[in-house]
């Protein structure tokens, strides 16, 4: 059971309060009708699934209710950072630097 820091509550809380919500920074296209079938497929289905640093979304569903973003290393399941929805991707190098 992970410990997750909610950037809105600014508290580190048990995973049981949170729901995983898939890869982060996959924005819904402003005008989907302009997308080719391949582009639309990429939006719908193609995921990075990295063995390493993963940008992902969680929802503090049994807490403040907010969706937020997280950077997690998928081999050791260590969180490098969490940040509010809408914020840009943090720089991984800095994060892993901090993580060391």
């Amino acid at each position: 059971m992970l410990l997750i820091h909610c950037p809105y509550c600014d508290e580190t809380l048990p995973e049981l309060e949170f729901a995983y919500a898939g890869e982060a920074h996959i924005a819904r296209p402003a005008d989907p009708s302009k997308l080719s079938d391949e582009e639309w497929r990429d939006f719908l289905f193609i995921r990075t699934n990295p063995k390493g640093v993963h940008f992902e979304r969680w929802r503090h569903i049994n807490g403040c209710g907010r969706f937020f973003n997280a950077v997690r290393e998928t081999v050791g399941d260590k969180f490098l950072s969490t940040y509010e929805a809408g914020e840009p991707r943090p720089d991984v190098a800095t994060l892993t630097g901090e993580a060391k």
Partner: protein
């Protein structure tokens, strides 16, 4: 039977005898005994039979690493469990134990025939045979193999006990209460950090309990222990828990602890759970689990009476039991010498101390001589004799690396010690790396992945002094890291028993190694030659060797066998042990009761059962219920003598003839409020909302982004900026989460908010031609006439004096209303309407009648008529799509090639040629029932009922290009013949002109 109990020795209560039975025979032990120590005190070593060869086995250990001494244990009805370790099971009054894996008796076991055939059952033998003739596998070989499987027998009754679960948070969790753990607890506890100190045993102290002769801070070990425990007990920030096994080490210092609460009690208190699963989140963890003693690997090392030297020492000091009068000692480590000395001082007459090492510390040999014990160094051991109890030991000289002339030494027990392995199971649960230490010839903790310290023997440190010092340091460091200033206390130790040893493979023998039975994994009967065979057959990785031989897969989790297996595999491969690897330890540290994991989730509290405010009325009025998602809903209301069919038909008739009343409270409700409410609705749902007037409702259709139908429901506009959205019963939470997702992450600019009101409202549906007549008197402020309050209208008013949201909607095709009142008034309103309704012969109906009536009217149920692969067009719901809208969730997917291709399955009506035949839901549909299999299936029946209103059966189905098949006869092949049925394009079977609906 002579007693092996030593008066005035041990920590057992000599004044409190305890009676127990094994295989029906009564024995007597003492309070404080384990089942194993009590049997040893009675001179019983034979405590089990091995898995494969059914060899007679004695107890080898004194802890949770015991592979042999396993019993079925029982405490009255509903309280039996197999494979209980006699070394952990504390004696309690009336304990009933049964031996396992033997027939007819433990002393005489027919299964032992396998032992003579042992050479047939070498590692992996079953992969190599039982293949011919093929049919024999199913009918002969496998049944035989399966019947031979297993140790104890399964419980057969429902468990009479309950189990508990508890979360806890602490600064420092210390696992193991030996010297290292105690010192850590003292250091961290004195520093004021919150501390949990847990130990698997009944009593804290670890090694100290087996080495009373050590002197700490000028006090005998046991006095010091008492004082340390007293100090810890006095610290409010320290909790000491015994009988508590740390079973698993999970992410971010979450450690699972299983606490055994009642198995040791003569009579457990009322309401006490049998076990409690703790989920402890610790800032810092200190692992002080000590080391595990390894057996020596030689022919006959499994004979009853052969026991680990450290275990013998524990039985002597903790339980006042000597394992034999004339023990022989075989060792590769100094520690066993001390066991011999202690036994000698206790009155036993050790026959010999055989040390496989050529040279041994003279202090040891001198002491042995002083005690009159013969010592043989640089020898090997090549066999034992005795059927159910060891009689003699075969010792050989070593001549230039080979076993030379043998000699038999008579004995009644053999104490063996193959050195010690640091106990790092929990550490490896964290995926922490283990590092091979060439000098110590063992694995030690390497890279850490968690905030954890390993202290004492776990780091390969030997002796009480070293353990105390190391534990104190670890405890202080942990407390510091957890935020309390701490310093490591110092201890002065004398009469410590520091020692060293060597790690070996199987001992050299002068016999045919191919015939030798030198056991590594006692329970699974894995021998040294099995390991070497596996390597010869190409098993290069230790994981392969383990899986091929089953070494380390017994109930001791490889505690006793892994390292010996590794050393021999490495030798066979000619590699260094680290190149061969080490099998990963997996939770739990020792076997853990299912019930403890399940905790409170048993019977009524297994899972949430949601009930509506009206549910008690339904129960009181004889409803039969069905589970729908987490809810239970009234399915139908049978009258005496009615079956489901009769009840449902009557309920439908009642509603269509006059008026029916239905509890719709489980429908999901979401309040969408804010200036941008309309914009939000336009984007989420397929339908247009801008033009929907306040006080009006509309059927809403929700897709996934993949274009498939996810949910639907009637949505009412209460104000310009306020919608009352309803969802399916099962979909409520999912839909709200989906809406929040889009709102928060895609359209954060919208000023609109979502609130679940599912449980704020109780929802009562009145359906039927007399619904208005019944309801009107209770709604003083609203003109309910068709003109003033038509179908799909909504208003906030009062009903029977309760504040209400009144909808004119219908899911039955009848004139209908849905009344939402605050939940607390739900039952009162229901009873009020039901009373008044009696004048109209009102009929309460359940979900089944609701399903029938909606099907008669052609309304779909998402999840039954759609299944996550249907588009709006497939389901005839194109009318619900706002054509003019530039976008809505799922719109883009609807133009993907396959979504617009021919050959999609479309929802149609299906009428059997024989109106009396009701199709089976899920039945498949074909064009030609006589075609060979595999048949080409065109679709399946999604809904099918007997329609009382139509006097015939009706069905809905999804059929390939269904709408083009209007009037076509298709076939539904059933096991007992095929049923012809005609496709009808529309699914509306009743009142297509909506005259009833809009009456």
């Amino acid at each position: 039977m002579t007693s092996y109990r030593l008066p005035n020795r041990g920590r057992v209560d000599h004044a409190r005898p305890v009676k127990f039975t094994v295989d029906g025979k009564s024995y007597q032990g003492l309070a404080g005994d384990t089942l194993a120590s009590a049997l040893l005190a009675n001179g019983v070593h034979l405590m089990g039979r091995s898995f494969k060869y059914h060899r007679p086995r004695g107890v080898v250990s004194a802890g949770s690493d015991e592979p042999n001494a396993l019993f079925g244990t029982r405490r009255g009805p509903g309280r039996f469990e197999p494979n209980t370790r006699a070394t952990l099971q504390e004696l309690r009054a009336g304990l009933e134990a049964t031996s396992q894996n033997r027939w007819p008796s433990l002393a005489f076991d027919m299964g032992a025939i396998n032992d003579n055939l042992g050479s047939l059952f070498s590692a992996g033998f079953y992969y190599k045979t039982f293949m011919w003739p093929r049919a024999f596998w199913d009918r002969v070989y496998e049944p035989v193999i399966r019947n031979a499987a297993g140790l104890g027998v399964s419980p057969t009754e429902h468990d009479a006990d309950t189990y508990a679960s508890r979360f806890a948070h602490t600064d420092v969790l210390i696992v193991g209460s030996g010297p290292a753990g105690l010192a850590a607890a003292l250091a961290a506890g004195r520093a004021g950090a919150s501390v949990m100190l847990v130990d698997e045993n009944a009593e804290p102290g670890g090694t100290l309990l087996s080495e009373p002769s050590v002197v700490i801070d000028g006090k005998p070990a046991w006095d010091w222990l008492a004082q340390a425990l007293a100090e810890l007990a006095g610290l409010p920030n320290v909790t000491v828990m015994t009988r508590t096994t740390a079973i698993g080490y999970y992410h971010q210092n979450l450690v699972g602890l299983c606490q055994r609460l009642t198995d040791h009690l003569d009579t457990p208190p009322e309401g006490a759970p049998r076990e409690r699963m703790w989920k402890v989140r610790a800032k810092e963890v200190v692992l002080a689990q000590g080391a595990l003693e390894k057996p020596l690997v030689f022919d006959g090392n499994d004979r009853p009476g052969v026991i680990l030297a450290g275990a013998a020492q524990t039985y002597l000091h903790r339980y006042g039991v000597k394992v034999g009068d004339r023990p022989a000692i075989v060792t590769a480590h100094d520690s066993a010498w001390y066991a011999a000395f202690d036994l000698a001082e206790a009155g036993a007459k050790p026959a010999v101390i055989v040390d496989v090492r050529a040279s041994v510390d003279p202090a040891l040999t001198d002491r042995a001589r002083a005690l009159g014990i013969e010592t043989l160094t640089g020898r090997t051991v090549t066999g034992t004799s005795g059927r159910l109890r060891v009689k003699s030991l075969r010792v050989n000289r070593m001549e230039n690396g080979k076993a030379g002339a043998p000699r038999d030494v008579a004995c009644d027990a053999v104490l063996m010690c193959g050195g010690w392995t640091p106990c790092l199971h929990l550490f490896s649960h964290t995926q922490g790396k283990l590092a091979w230490n060439e000098a110590a010839q063992c694995y030690l903790p390497g890279t850490k992945t968690e905030a954890v310290q390993i202290a004492g023997a776990g780091r390969g440190l030997w002796g009480i002094a070293a353990a105390l010092e190391d534990g104190a340091k670890a405890g202080a460091l942990a407390a510091k890291d957890a935020g309390s200033e701490a310093e490591a206390p110092a201890f002065t130790v004398s009469a410590d028993r520091i020692g060293s040893g060597v790690t070996l493979r199987e001992l050299p023998t002068d016999r045919d190694p191919g015939k030798a039975k030198a056991f590594i994994d006692f329970q699974n009967d894995v021998t040294a030659k099995d390991i070497r065979l596996a390597v010869r057959e190409g098993m290069r990785s230790i994981e392969h060797v383990k899986r091929y031989t089953t070494n380390g897969m017994a109930t001791d989790q490889g505690k006793m066998s892994n390292v010996n297996g590794l050393m021999i595999a490495a030798d066979a491969l000619g590699k260094a042990p680290p190149q061969v690897g080490l099998t990963t330890f997996r939770p739990p540290y020792s076997p853990t009761t299912f019930g403890a994991f399940a905790g409170y989730h048993k019977d009524a509290t297994f899972e949430v059962t949601r009930k509506t405010p009206i549910d008690p009325w339904a129960e009181a009025n004889g409803a039969v219920f069905e589970p729908v998602a987490l809810w239970r809903r009234a399915w139908y209301f049978p009258k005496p003598g009615e079956d489901m069919h009769a009840a449902v038909s009557r309920e439908c008739r009642g509603a269509r003839a006059s008026v029916g009343i239905f509890d719709a409270s489980t429908l999901g409700k979401i309040e969408v409020v804010g200036p941008d409410a309309v914009t939000f609705m336009e984007r989420m749902y397929t339908n247009p909302w801008a033009k929907l007037g306040v006080g009006r409702c509309r059927y809403g259709l929700l897709l996934g982004e993949d274009g498939f139908i996810r949910d639907d429901g009637v949505i009412g506009r209460l104000a310009e900026d306020r919608f009352h959205v309803t969802t399916t019963t099962g979909g409520a939470a999912r839909v709200l989460n989906m809406m929040e997702d889009y709102l928060q992450t895609e359209w954060p600019d919208l000023q609109v908010w979502l609130t679940s009101t599912t449980e704020q409202w109780a929802t009562i549906a009145l359906q039927g031609p007399n619904a208005r007549l019944l309801l009107a008197p209770f709604v003083p402020d609203v003109d309910l006439s068709a003109e003033a309050f038509p179908h799909m209208a909504v208003i906030e008013t009062t009903v029977a004096g309760f504040p209400a949201r009144l909808f004119r909607v219908s899911f039955t095709g009848e004139l209908g209303f849905e009344i939402n009142v605050p939940a607390r008034h739900g039952r009162a309103l229901w009873e009020t309407l039901f009373e008044a309704g009696k004048a109209y012969d009102i009929t309460p109906y359940g979900t089944e009648a609701m399903h029938v009536m909606r099907a008669e009217k052609g309304y779909i149920i998402v999840g039954q008529d759609t299944d996550g692969t249907l588009t709006p067009d497939d389901a005839n719901l194109n009318w619900a799509i706002g054509k003019a809208k530039p976008d809505f969730v799922g719109k883009r997917s609807l133009t993907r090639p396959d979504m617009v291709a021919k050959g999609r399955k479309q929802l149609v009506g299906l009428l059997t040629d024989d109106p009396k035949v009701v199709l089976e839901e899920g039945a498949q549909i074909v064009a030609d029932p006589s075609q060979p299999r595999p048949m080409t299936m065109l679709g399946h029946v999604t809904s099918s009922y007997w329609s009382d209103a139509l006097g015939r059966s009706i069905a809905m189905a999804v059929v390939v290009d269904g709408r083009d098949r209007d009037g076509e006869t298709l076939h539904v092949p059933m096991p007992d013949g095929s049923i012809p049925a005609k496709v009808v394009k529309g699914t509306v079977f009743l009142d297509p002109e909506n005259s009833r609906l809009s009456a």
